[in-house]
Symmetry: D2
Subunit: 148 residues, 4 copies
C-alpha cells in the first residue's frame, strides 16, 4: 500500500474557545484535532469507531508526542493529514501533520493500544487490523453517521 | 425580513472529547457549538468576526440560557439552527435550536453586548447592525477564511 | 434551615487554558466551575456524587442560565458560592454567585433532574433529598476522595 | 541543587467534564494539569507567570510528550510532581510524574521556548533563568494571587 492510500485529511475550523490569552490555539487543542482526525480516518474506511466501542474494542491512547511548529489562530481552516505508521499485535501508531495550507503547524503521533471493556490489553482483531491497513473508500461507502 | 432569511444552520460532528462519563455530550459543550454557529452565521453574511475584533468591536456574551431536551452522543451530526431574535442599541440576542435530524436536543439563547478593546459598552456601529439584520448571502460572497 | 447552612463555597484558580483570545475566562468555563462546585457541595455533606452514579442515580442538567457581570482573568482565585434554591419531586435547582473577593463575576443557576441509568426521569430518593436539604458537615465528616 | 529542591507538587481534583465516555480522564486533560502545575511551580518560587507575560516574556510550548500508564477517574485527587529537567539559552524542559497516591498515572515532559510578544525566540533573561533553577520558597514568600 502506498502512502497516498494510507492517508486521509480531516479539516477543522478553529473555534474561538480553542484559543487562549496568547491569541493562538491552545497546545492541548491539537490532541482534540488528532482524535477527530482518527475518527474521520476510520469513517472514510467504512467504519464507525462507535461500533467498535459497542463490541468492546477500544483504541486507548497510551502515548502522544507533539511538536508545535507555528501557531494557529481563531477561525483558520486547518488540515490534519493522518496516516497509520505502524501496527503491532496490540498497538497502532497514527502520525499527523497539521497544516494551514502549505504551512506546517504541528507534527504529532499517538500510540494507541487495543483494550477491552475491562481496560486490559487485547490482541487487535483481524477485521480491525484489515481496516487499519486499508485505503480510503469512495465516498458512497463511508460509514453512516446519525443525523447526517 | 422573514424568518428564513434570518436563519443559518451550522453543522457540527460530536467529538469524543466532548462526551463525559455519562456517555453523552457534556452540557457545557453546547455553548461551544452556539459560539461556532454565531461565527458561521456572520461568515455566511460576508463577515469574518475576527475582522471586527481587529477593529476593536467585540460581541461579548453577557447572558446565556440553555434548555437541554435530549442527549447527543459521540459522532452524531448536529445542526445548530441560529437566528438573531432582537437587537438593541448595544446588544444582540441570538437564538439557537440544536437538532439531530428532526429531534430537538437543546434550545438556547445568548445575549451579547458590543464592547471595545477596553471591555466597556459601545453602541453597535451601523455597519454591524446592518449585518445582524441581513440574510444569508450566496456562497460565493461568504467571508474568506485563512487556509481554505 | 437558614441560608448560611445551605451554602458552601468552592474555590478555583483560573487555568491558562480556560482563557480565550480576549484575555478573559471563556464564558463556557463557568459551567465547569459550577459543576465542580456542586460536586464539592455534596462532598462537604458527606456524599461522593460518584457513589450516587454507581447506584444509578444521576443528576442531569436540564437547564442552565448564566449572567456574566465582570470578566475573570488567568490565575485569579475565584469563589463559587453555591446553594440549593429549590427541590421538587424530580428536580433540584442550584444557584451560584461566582466572585473574586467581593466582586461579583457571574450569577447562575442550573436545574438538574434525577434520572436513572436509562436516562429516564426518576423520583429523587428520600436519602438524596435529605442530603440536598442538609448543612455543611464538620470537615472530619466530609466524603473521602481517592488519592487524598 | 538536589532533586527535592527542584520539585514541586501540584494537586488537582478530576472534574466531571474532564472525563469522556470511556469513564476515564480524557488524555488531552493531562496537558491542562501539567500547565496548571507549571504555573503553580513558579508561584511557589515567588513568581506570577502573568507578570512575565506582562513584560513580554512568554514560555510557549514547542514540544510535549505523554505516556499514559493508568487511567484516572472522576473526583480523584491527583498529584502532578513537577521539576525542571534542563534549561538552555532559549528553552526550558519541565518533567511531570502524575500520580494518584503511589500509583503512577502518566509521565510527561514539555519543552518550552522563551518568546516575545512577537512570538519570536528570545534569550531567557537572567532573572527568569535564576527562578527556573531555584528551590520552592517558604509559603509566606509565594507569589500573591488576585482574589486570594
Amino acid at each position: 500500500m502506498n502512502d497516498a492510500e494510507n492517508t486521509s485529511v480531516h479539516r477543522v475550523q478553529v473555534r474561538f474557545a480553542e484559543t487562549d490569552l496568547m491569541g493562538i490555539v491552545h497546545h492541548a487543542t491539537y490532541l482534540l484535532y488528532c482524535e477527530a482526525a482518527r475518527v474521520d480516518w476510520l469513517h472514510k474506511r467504512g467504519v464507525s469507531y462507535q461500533s467498535w466501542v459497542e463490541h468492546g474494542i477500544h483504541l486507548a491512547v497510551v502515548e502522544s508526542k507533539l511538536r508545535y511548529r507555528a501557531p494557529a489562530r481563531f477561525d483558520e481552516i486547518i488540515d490534519v493529514v493522518t496516516d497509520v505508521e505502524e501496527t503491532t499485535r496490540v498497538t497502532v501508531k497514527y502520525r499527523y501533520r497539521i497544516k494551514r495550507g502549505e504551512t506546517l503547524l504541528c507534527e504529532a503521533y499517538t500510540l494507541l493500544a487495543c483494550v477491552g471493556d475491562d481496560m486490559k490489553l487485547k490482541r487487535i482483531p483481524k477485521e480491525v487490523k484489515d481496516v487499519l491497513a486499508s485505503a480510503e473508500l469512495p465516498k458512497a461507502q463511508w460509514a453512516p453517521v446519525l443525523g447526517a
